[in-house]
């Protein structure tokens, strides 16, 4: 049972991982993206995520459908709102018969999510505020 959603609640990674365990899938690959403190010398204090929710969930579903069509299971959950250091921002999980396709498709989903899904971060760094995607 695939699960695709954007939430303003904390992401329960244990529960989502368990949902990917099925007898037909021998490999589960999970990517968890957290709020990182340092990006080189830039120190981040918190990140606020916003989204165009309906479109974002549609775009996530389009990505998931490509993997589901290959007979795998998919979980994609992104959190929005104000997140603190080490909070989980995104959970991507792919369950597949074998590990190679689980690795490959999990990477595909997170890489594409970062390119096409309308979610934005406003990064509160120690020196100033930075908007993700816009550079300096």
């Amino acid at each position: 049972m695939s699960l695709i959603k954007i939430t303003d609640q904390p992401i329960n990674t244990d529960e989502l991982t368990k949902s990917l365990i099925h007898p037909e899938f021998g490999g589960v690959d999970i990517f968890i993206g957290n709020i990182r403190k340092f990006t080189d010398e830039i120190e981040t204090e918190k990140i606020e995520y916003t989204t165009y929710k309906q479109m974002a969930e549609k775009e996530m579903q389009k990505l998931a459908d490509q993997v589901l069509a290959k007979g795998m299971d998919v979980v994609m959950v992104h959190r929005v709102g104000e997140l603190n250091l080490a909070d989980v921002a995104v959970f991507i999980g792919v369950a597949a018969p074998h590990r190679a396709e689980a690795f490959e498709n999990c990477q595909f989903l997170i890489d594409q999510l970062k390119k096409t899904v309308p979610i934005w971060k406003k990064e509160y760094d120690r020196d100033k505020i930075r908007w993700g995607g816009l550079g300096e």
């Binding site: 549609k58 970062k114 899904v117 309308p118 979610i119």
Partner: protein, 79 residues
Amino acid sequence: MKVKLFSILAEEIGATVDLKLNDNFYAKDVKDSIKKSYPDFSDILDQSLVAVNEEYADDEEFKLADVTEIAIIPPVSGG
């Protein structure tokens, strides 16, 4: 037509902008129209995409009568 804005554009300009669009229009017209009123945001608008009815718009022509929602999508930064 109310056009939805997000991210830095929503914070600086507002959640929506009201635009007068022709009965037939292109995605580019939407950005050009906002640029006229908000020239300071031309750079960001140049980097942004337009979504029509919750789908990314290419170079196709739209009929205003078929459009229920338009949004400006600044460079995304999820994950």
